[in-house]
Symmetry: C2
Subunit: 463 residues, 2 copies
């Protein structure tokens, strides 16, 4: 079938004006936030119904045409990039919030519902959707499920996986599977829903999800603590976790703090300059709990684990403290950072971080490393800033070498080369550092069960 014939057929499968082939659209919907691959899709289709998605998939399956699912396109692993003449299936027009069930605290979402839209809906119902991260204003629920999105509240609320009560997916044959019926308890064989969460659209496309909501947190209170070294952060985490149900435990380095202070629009938490900082958050639902937090802080100071600290006393102060952490990514983007999103079990974090610091420092002493991340769940974001005297190409070439060392250290510590960004195309060639050949073989066989012709987001996760 010629490309023109394909496009003509697509126009019969979705609304005729919902197929785009203009250069701007191909560029816009053909990529995510990564910039490693030039977008080159054949066409963008915008189905409005499950039936239209099925029709597109059935057609693609017959003709063996590759499909790429597209949500908010905020991904950081090129899982939603169409670089090889694929048909992009955008869920922008399937963005409605459906039935809400107060007893179950569930709400039905089309895949194109934006994360912030769901958060807002929950708030209107006096509830809370707890998966939150920097791109929540653009990312879509379908994409969140595809990558099992995490973010800043995982220590308390877990990943997106925890909040998916039920799923409807269209597999690679165009078949609609309705998975788990939104039940809490359902012991009737394999929980296929779990397979689609984090599968990056390679098994099928999410066409509807029933999401769970949670009680809204009460009187959220943050502390920022400065520590004399990285290792001190660990007993601080332990001491606070012993006393409080933390909703977040983040960290960042002095270099990150310096960049934030350089903006001029975020107040310093305190005067003492420290090599590392921890930001923790909890619900101060009673005075006892606030007192526990203060007592634990004092204990940490006495032990020498903390040099200085501050606790928010108002919503405004809470927000200001969070800016210290949340603005990092955007602020350092000026220095063309080379990013890695890696994880180990929490107890291994200090040794792991030291090993990486040492190897990068040894080979590239002029590279500035900005560390930050979700230490409460073992997830570190390693950001290497481009020195001014290096071209982008030279810098990225050197970083590719660094990558290999970093991943060897990840493997040594039995960690993950992608904690929450996914594999997509950017981590595909490194997958063996985190998954065994036997696991990868099984994954390929499972893909063949759902997608016998390999049309669903091919080339993502593995080849």
């Amino acid at each position: 079938m010629t490309p023109d014939a394909v496009i003509a057929t697509l126009k019969t499968l979705v609304d005729p004006d919902k197929v785009r082939v203009d250069a701007e659209s191909l560029d816009n919907w053909g990529k995510d936030w990564t910039k490693h691959f030039a977008p080159a899709p054949l066409a963008i289709v915008f189905p409005k119904t499950v039936e239209q998605v099925q029709a597109v998939v059935r057609f693609a399956n017959e003709q063996k045409l590759a499909l790429v699912p597209s949500g908010g396109r905020t991904g950081l692993s090129a899982a939603a990039v169409a670089a090889n003449g694929e048909i992009v299936v955008s869920f922008d027009y399937m963005n409605q919030i459906g039935e809400f069930n107060a007893y179950d605290r569930t709400v039905v979402c089309q895949p194109g519902v934006v994360t912030a839209q769901l958060q807002q809906f929950a708030e209107e119902k006096g509830l809370y959707y707890p998966v939150d991260f920097a791109s929540a204003g653009s990312s879509q629920i379908g994409g969140n499920i595809g990558t099992n999105a995490g973010g800043i509240k995982v220590i308390r609320y877990g990943m997106t996986r925890n909040w998916v009560a039920g799923l409807k997916v269209v597999t690679g044959t165009g078949e609609l599977l309705e998975l788990n019926r939104d039940l809490i308890k359902n012991a009737t064989g394999y929980d296929l829903r779990q397979l689609f969460i984090g599968a990056e659209g390679t098994l099928g496309f999410v066409v509807e999800a029933t999401m769970r909501l949670e009680r809204a947190p009460k009187n959220l209170t943050a502390m920022v603590l400065g520590t004399p070294d990285f290792d001190s952060i660990m007993p601080v985490l332990h001491a606070f976790q012993d006393k409080l149900d933390l909703t977040a435990f983040e960290f960042f380095s002095d270099k990150a703090m310096a960049k934030i202070m350089g903006r001029g629009d975020v107040p310093a938490p305190f005067e003492t300059e420290c090599p590392f900082y921890a930001l923790l958050e909890f619900e101060a639902i009673s005075e006892d709990i606030a007192n526990d937090a203060l007592a634990t802080f004092e204990h940490c100071v006495e032990q020498g684990w903390v040099l200085d600290g501050v606790m928010s006393q108002s919503q405004q102060q809470l927000e200001n403290l969070w800016k210290l952490r949340e603005f990092i990514s955007e602020t350092i983007s000026h220095w063309t950072p080379y990013k890695n999103d890696i994880s180990v079990t929490v107890g291994k974090v200090p040794a792991f971080l030291h090993d990486i610091d040492a190897i990068v420092g040894e080979h590239y002493p002029d590279f500035e490393i900005v560390w930050f991340g979700h230490i409460g769940d073992g997830n570190l974001h390693l950001n290497i800033l481009k020195p001014e005297n290096l071209s982008k190409d030279e810098f990225f070439a050197k970083c590719a070498t660094v990558n290999k060392w970093v991943f060897e250290i990840v493997e040594k510590y039995n960690g993950s080369i992608s904690a929450e960004h996914g594999v997509g195309m950017t981590k595909r060639d490194y997958l063996t550092y985190s998954r065994s050949p036997a696991e990868i073989a099984v994954m390929k066989s499972i893909k063949a069960v759902f997608d016998p012709n390999g049309i669903m987001n091919p080339g993502k996760i593995f080849n």
Copy 2:
């Protein structure tokens, strides 16, 4: 290969004294708590190491011999019954608790660790293993994972699935897969760990699990409330859930209460006799919370949803209130109950329960129905007691008819024919009431990926 040759070979694969073929052993390790199928295994093997498990599986795979995994044998779906000359693989000698990680709050368990043993270990570390149910004193972690065990704290802590940080499994080819590396965040492709949870040993056998532990609950406090009808339980649930983080929300009927009172060893919670009772539990970590609970109770009384109630003021009272719920199963066992373990979404529970009551009452007005269950998660246990004038055979024959009606209602309400007991053999022929033909076909294909010769617990879940 003759049966004798098989047994002789098995003795070379595990310790020679760890193969049993005596009639008592075959009977004991060949069954679970169900009594529908006569145990008839060929032999029982007790491996002591992962390598021994792999050797047994490889041998079985070569010879196409069926294997049945065996844990605490407390299952209620005959998933661990060997009724067809299978080799039972018991994990009784792989029952050690391994490395504990305080920062991650994880502990490595061999599959034969008993649930109560893990609960006890957690307590010694000042932590908590929150999956709890009647058979916790005998059930093993491997079996809990195989059935994704639930129980009485699911409303707060979720199923066993939530507590499995990492898994080692031996698949049907004898291959060892190490899944998820105990990480909280790991976005590197399909989360195969999830497939094995709830797979009833049909994809492979769990040979090690890293389990998460939780902060120990503080000052657990229970309330028992009497309601004028079943429907009133729902707004009560809603009102309390709005104010408190409930750790349990159970219910039982007046008939269940009467049986408990008939024992003579459990104090009545209060004098008022009510058609239904709710038992709820929460952490009274501050006076505010206890006051919120009392205010909500008063609100429920004012609304007419609650006729009477009591709140525990001591550990002893807490335990006594829990006996009202926890002793039901054991107490009614005297009446040879026909049990169903079904679930729907929480909001549908009242209509669902009425429909079932109506159809059983219409056809068998002399059948006494005892309802109890975990209403906070939509899981109802329907128990039909055997009238004295019916023989066991006549009774079970009539119940088989009831079963069909019940499952038709389950299907109508889009529920589950097995909320937490699993499918095994007892629910196998009813699976289509809860899973579509397409889903069942996919499950069979996935089984073929891990177990090409169909030797891993064959005939369980599906044929």
